[in-house]
């Protein structure tokens, strides 16, 4: 098997808050090879964004990566110096943030913010860099990119800003892009366009992609493999088709059943009962057990992430095989 582009092993990222330690990412492992697309799904607060920031080394205090390894093309990113890491960021490894309204610096022009991203890693003239920036804008479907380069972020809509952010991520043709719900703010047509563009890019250049989202439909169309996160842990991983068709973990099952398109019209949506527990007061054992329809005494014990089927791992004592 060739070396994976990214191999995350037992990653732990904790926030040391005044009220206690929030284990935002706990024992998370996954890997993906070049050109592969991994979908990372889970409800709000499950630790998807923190996982992304951990990989980029952008977790700010009170947060800290406290354990695990992040092997990027064989190099452990957690062991790199700040300068080595700076060289990786934006160059080999890029991220598109969740909130497009806040991603771009309000007082700098778009061209400034794009050209600097190129020049931080390559010694190229401003003219060349500008040309590349313009091409990148064109690629993500921004009309009259030459003119748009001279604009400020506030002159763009949210969707346009997100496209600019995606264009910035594409600038240096990184080996891995972490896209944090990048299309949530976009309308359906543009969303389709961008998905298509990103897919093409990954296929052509072998860029690996981690696509963080709430939207299972997007994952279904885009990713090959999926990781379902709950309360900081990966509770199920496997190929997209398998997991979406035949979820083994009760949480994945609930998540999939709560998607409207999955239900017939007029029928009540199946929802996961209860609320996401606070990370500071997680139930002992399996964190999902208080909301789980099939929990029993055994679930007070922490399950382990085990291979339930080939290429299919699950964090549960009672895989839902029979009801699937």
């Amino acid at each position: 098997m060739p070396q994976p582009t990214l191999d995350v092993r037992n990653l732990q990222t904790h926030f040391f808050t005044r009220d206690g330690v929030a284990k935002a990412v706990e024992d998370v492992s996954f890997s993906l090879g070049s050109g592969e697309v991994l979908g990372l799904v889970g409800e709000s607060g499950s630790g998807k964004t923190v996982t992304g920031f951990s990989i980029l080394g952008l977790v700010d205090p009170p947060g800290e990566v406290v354990g695990g390894e992040i092997l990027f093309k064989g190099r452990n990113l957690l062991k790199l110096s700040e300068e080595e890491m700076r060289n990786v960021r934006g160059n080999h490894l890029a991220m598109v943030f969740q909130d497009p309204m806040m991603t771009l610096n309000p007082v700098l022009r778009i061209d400034t913010q794009m050209i600097e991203a190129i020049q931080a890693h390559q010694k190229v003239g401003t003219d060349v860099a500008r040309e590349r920036a313009r091409d990148a804008l064109g690629k993500v479907g921004i009309a009259s990119p030459d003119e748009r380069l001279r604009a400020y972020p506030h002159q763009f809509s949210g969707g346009m800003r997100q496209r600019v952010a995606i264009a910035i991520a594409l600038l240096n043709q990184p080996e891995l892009i972490i896209a944090d719900e990048p299309t949530t703010a976009l309308d359906v047509t543009i969303q389709g366009q961008i998905l298509h563009e990103v897919q093409r890019l990954c296929r052509e250049t072998g860029t690996a992609l981690i696509w963080i989202t709430h939207d299972l439909a997007v994952v279904a169309g885009l990713a090959e493999r999926i990781c379902v996160m709950y309360a900081g842990r990966i509770v199920e991983t496997g190929s997209v088709d398998e997991v979406l068709d035949r979820p083994l973990h009760p949480y994945s099952k609930g998540l999939i059943e709560s998607v409207p398109s999955h239900n017939q019209r007029g029928r009540r949506l199946n929802q996961i009962p209860g609320m996401t527990p606070s990370l500071l007061s997680l139930p002992e054992g399996c964190a999902f057990r208080t909301r789980c329809p099939i929990a029993d005494v055994e679930c007070r014990r922490l399950p382990s992430l085990h291979e339930a089927e080939t290429e299919r791992r699950i964090f549960c004592h009672h895989p839902q095989r029979e009801t699937a």
Binding site: R86, R89, T103, P106, R109
Partner: protein, 325 residues
């Protein structure tokens, strides 16, 4: 942009007019300058001659009308004491004050911004706490006391710096400047530092607060995610954002710096207009006081206008709104 400037200009004219009314009436109801102007042994005829000469026998609104008419022609009256145009008197002293005020402003920015940004970035470090404690002192210690202490330490005890006057000056385009000679510079240093202390503390606080707010913004994280160097993050991404409040506040404070350099000028015997106005108030030299106040008003108005323009250059969001109006 031009529409914006024209509108602001019209507003400014109204402000200046209203202030002229307030200043003129205010100054003219205080005290009786005749007592000061006339030899106590003078007879009644002499007194009346003087009163008529200065137009003090006319009702106040007529006096104001005259004043306004003359003011429009650039004549703000003659000094009772010096017998020369008040405006000319003040303008002669103005370069000294401006030089002092601008030096103080530059010191406040050059020292205040780096210290404030540092304190914002490393808010837990000992150095940062020392900086912040220093800025509290800068706020709370009275200017004249600090000035006197500076004189005592650096002029009297150590003998490093001169304590009074402007020193050797150079004439540039008809204006005497101290900062171009070494001697002048040594005379300028202490008063400028003294005058800037308060503003410097203000800049430190603004820069620190701005830094602490900006570093946690998503766009700073995104900039880091692009792999930018630390220096570019600080000097471009951070700096451009914190300069907006700093420029606004400092611009507005510049007027105050000029107007209230009175204390520093008095302590260091700096021959600027602040010292002139104190003397004129003592002698009830009304035209000089009125002219001084009008110049200060005018200066505030102009500075505000410049700040607005600067602000819109720094902050593109403001620029857009102006274009719409």
């Amino acid at each position: 942009m031009t529409v914006f400037i024209i509108r602001r200009l019209l507003q400014s004219i109204v402000v200046v007019f209203l202030m002229s009314l307030l200043v003129f009436v205010g100054v003219n109801v205080v005290g009786d300058p005749v007592d000061m102007l006339i030899n106590p042994e003078a007879d009644q005829a002499e007194i009346e001659r003087v009163i008529r000469h200065f137009g003090l026998d006319k009702p106040l609104h007529i006096q104001y009308g005259h004043f306004l008419l003359n003011a429009l022609n650039g004549d703000l009256g003659k000094s009772f004491i010096f017998g020369m145009p008040a405006l000319k008197l003040i303008l002669m002293r103005m370069p000294a004050t401006l030089e002092l005020a601008f030096s103080a402003l530059i010191l406040a920015v050059l020292i205040g911004i780096p210290l404030g940004v540092y304190a914002g970035l490393k808010s837990k470090a000992k150095v940062s706490r020392t900086i912040m404690a220093g800025s509290i002192l800068g706020f709370s210690l009275p200017t004249f006391w600090v000035g006197l202490m500076m004189i005592m330490v650096f002029a009297v005890m150590l003998g490093w710096l001169p304590s009074t006057g402007r020193g050797e000056t150079v004439l540039v385009a008809g204006i005497e400047l101290s900062f171009l000679t070494l001697d002048g510079l040594s005379h300028l240093l202490m008063p400028a530092l003294n005058l800037s202390l308060f503003k410097m503390s203000l800049v430190i606080r603004l820069a620190r607060a701005g830094t602490r707010e900006v570093v946690h913004q998503d766009y700073m994280k995104f900039a880091r995610a692009k792999g930018l160097s630390e220096s570019r993050l600080i000097f471009v991404h951070l700096m451009k954002n914190i300069l907006i409040p700093v420029v606004t506040v400092l611009g507005l404070e510049l007027g105050g710096l000029i107007a209230f350099s009175v204390v520093t000028e008095t302590v260091f015997a700096w021959p600027g207009m602040g010292k002139l106005i104190i003397d004129s108030i003592h002698l009830l030299d009304r035209p000089v006081v009125v002219a001084y106040l009008m110049i200060i008003v005018l200066m505030f108005v102009i500075i505000n206008l410049i700040v607005d323009v600067l602000y819109s250059i720094l902050d593109p969001r403001v620029r857009l709104q102006d274009m719409k109006t």
